[in-house]
């Protein structure tokens, strides 16, 4: 009994974090304009507004739901509203949240806030982001309560998670690589938190360090591998990555779908050099992708495909070929041929299914590719038939199994009609 109590006290001692005193909201004029501007760029590189803005809601005022295997979390309000936002947070409180995942009042934050990445951000950059956030217009918006499975609502448990998975410190500088590469590494591993989606997670929801960039899942879409296993038909280069990250479409590869769209929107308006750095970094990561060649001709095997999927061929002709067929108007606008699409060469049909069901929204201010959603018009069996057809027609990969089951599952999870 005594031992249990002692263990309890010890555990509480280990998980307890002090409150950092509330402050009066700093005057906007107390931050140098250059610092605020730099913070605006860094906040875009960190995608703060992507998660912290609800659909149709005020920027950074939170409330956006994030579905996880552990339940639904709601993003908090990070405008400088004293009552519902971070208006009374000192810089020290903000830094602790970003580096250690602890709120001003001392409670542990869920790693949906990617502090396992943000912990690598430099002091100067954190100060700039703080300056940017504290100079936004305060929005009064209380955060909805999280809906988590038992016992994860008990935040002290997160101290154990951090003990296992939170590693502080700078992103190591690789002196064998260019300054640009190292800048890309700093942005990707820190603020960009690219691994948050592109690295698989373990049962505790932590990124598996030994499988960095081996591909993951984000909101029902597959975030493709960004290492040597990247399945692109044509090898990604730093230039093609730059075009993709900046505009949401690479004529030699794919268009940004699902949660990658908002990432591209953020990257479309940061200084060019930052996006070049990210591109150089990931081109190097994928560099060893052996089978892919820069000029590989797109595969197109209509005869085999129609023999294997006759119904899919008919659906494709009526529903898809108007844009994706040879000579279609879209193809003359520098849009990727299906024979180059990573969604089709991927070992999993996940993103291909989502693209057909949900369509693709133009990522950058309404410009760029827009694919209509087929969830209302095609049945699960029809989506499976057309995907079976395009997988056979446009790749040499083996057919996807249980396609219809996967379509049904994706539709159910996405709450689509």
């Amino acid at each position: 009994m005594l031992a249990a109590m002692a263990a309890g006290v010890l555990a509480l001692g280990l998980t307890w974090r002090p409150t950092i005193s509330a402050i009066d909201r700093p005057q906007a004029g107390s931050f140098p304009a250059a610092q605020v501007n730099q913070g605006a760029i860094l906040a875009k590189l960190g995608d703060c507004a992507v998660c912290h803005t609800a659909t149709g809601g005020r920027a950074l005022a939170g409330g956006r739901p994030l579905a996880t295997p552990f339940g639904t979390l709601f993003a908090s309000n990070i405008t400088p509203d004293a009552e519902t936002g971070i208006g009374n947070w000192s810089y020290e409180a903000f830094r602790r949240a970003m580096r250690d995942g602890v709120s001003r009042t001392g409670s542990h934050l869920y790693p949906a806030l990617p502090y396992d990445h943000y912990t690598h951000v430099t002091e100067g950059d954190l100060q700039a982001i703080y300056a940017y956030l504290m100079t936004r217009r305060p929005v009064h918006a209380p955060k909805p309560d999280n809906k988590l499975i038992f016992p994860l609502g008990f935040r002290p448990l997160l101290a154990g998670w951090k003990f296992l998975y939170l590693r502080h410190g700078d992103v190591p500088y690789d002196s064998g690589q260019s300054a640009r590469y190292n800048r890309g590494a700093y942005l990707a591993e820190g603020l960009g938190h690219c691994g948050g989606c592109h690295t698989p997670r373990n049962l505790m929801g932590a990124e598996v360090a030994s499988k960095a960039y081996a591909g993951g899942i984000a909101e029902g879409w597959r975030a493709p591998p960004l290492n040597a296993e990247n399945p692109a038909a044509r090898k990604w280069t730093a230039d093609s990555l730059y075009t993709f990250l900046r505009t949401g479409v690479s004529p030699d590869h794919s268009a940004a779908g699902g949660p990658m769209g908002p990432v591209v929107e953020s990257l479309s308006s940061v200084p060019e050099e930052e996006v070049r750095a990210l591109s150089v970094y990931f081109a190097a990561k994928m560099g060893k992708a052996a089978p892919a060649k820069a000029e590989a001709e797109p595969v197109d095997r209509p005869a085999e495909a129609v023999a294997a999927f006759p119904e899919g061929a008919r659906i494709f002709a009526g529903a898809c070929a108007g844009c994706h067929g040879p000579g279609a108007p879209m193809m003359s606008q520098g849009r990727p041929a299906l024979g180059l699409s990573t969604d089709l060469t991927d070992s999993e049909p996940t993103s291909a299914i989502q693209a057909v069901l949900q369509g693709i929204e133009p990522p950058v201010e309404g410009r760029g590719p827009k694919m209509p959603a087929f969830a209302p018009s095609l049945t699960d069996g029809q989506v499976a038939a057309v995907l079976g057809y395009v997988r056979t027609r446009y790749t040499h990969k083996p057919a996807w199994n249980h396609l219809e089951h996967d379509v049904r599952q994706a539709r159910k999870e996405g709450g689509q009609p």
């Binding site: 009526g318 529903a319 108007g322 108007p329 209509p372 209302p376």
Partner: protein
């Protein structure tokens, strides 16, 4: 190939290629000229009809995919002398400028109202987002839908 289609509660036998867009059959074979050909690429929504109660682009709906699902066009809601409440609201708000998009707009809005008779302003805007109007009468179109949905004017999005 021969297909049996149920359109606006009537059954039709149609002889056409399997990949023929539903839009061509509705206009060319059945004389239902409500749905319009706009872009043919699922980008504008002028061809919107209901398939099994859902708003779909009839230009991208090959005949082979229709199956037993019921098709409804704007003609199926009511005619000039028998407009349904949504059609009447579009007329009362003078939502049509050139009118080319209107049948598609009505069919998409009706699909929402059938599923959810009292949508919020945000739900209406998000649902109507795929359909374009080049004349710019969106505000009147929204007013017409709000009128039927009984959303108070000026409700926050």
């Amino acid at each position: 190939m021969t297909f049996e289609l149920t359109v606006n509660d009537k059954t039709h036998i149609v002889d056409a290629e399997a990949e023929t867009p539903l839009l061509y059959v509705l206009r060319g074979e059945l004389g239902l000229n409500g749905p319009k050909y706009g872009c043919g690429l699922g980008q504008c929504g002028a061809c919107t009809v209901q398939l099994g109660g859902k708003a779909v682009y009839s230009c991208l709906t090959p005949l082979i995919t229709v199956g037993e699902r019921e098709v409804r066009t704007v003609e199926g809601l009511g005619g000039v002398d028998s407009m349904n409440p949504l059609q009447q609201a579009f007329a009362d708000e003078q939502a049509a400028q050139c009118g080319y998009c209107i049948a598609g707009m009505i069919m998409r809005a009706q699909a929402l109202l059938d599923e959810n008779p009292h949508p919020t302003e945000a739900e209406i805007r998000s649902h109507m987002q795929p359909n374009l109007c080049r004349c710019g009468t969106h505000m009147r179109i929204l007013r017409a839908i709000r009128r039927v949905a009984a959303v108070p004017a000026g409700a926050a999005a």
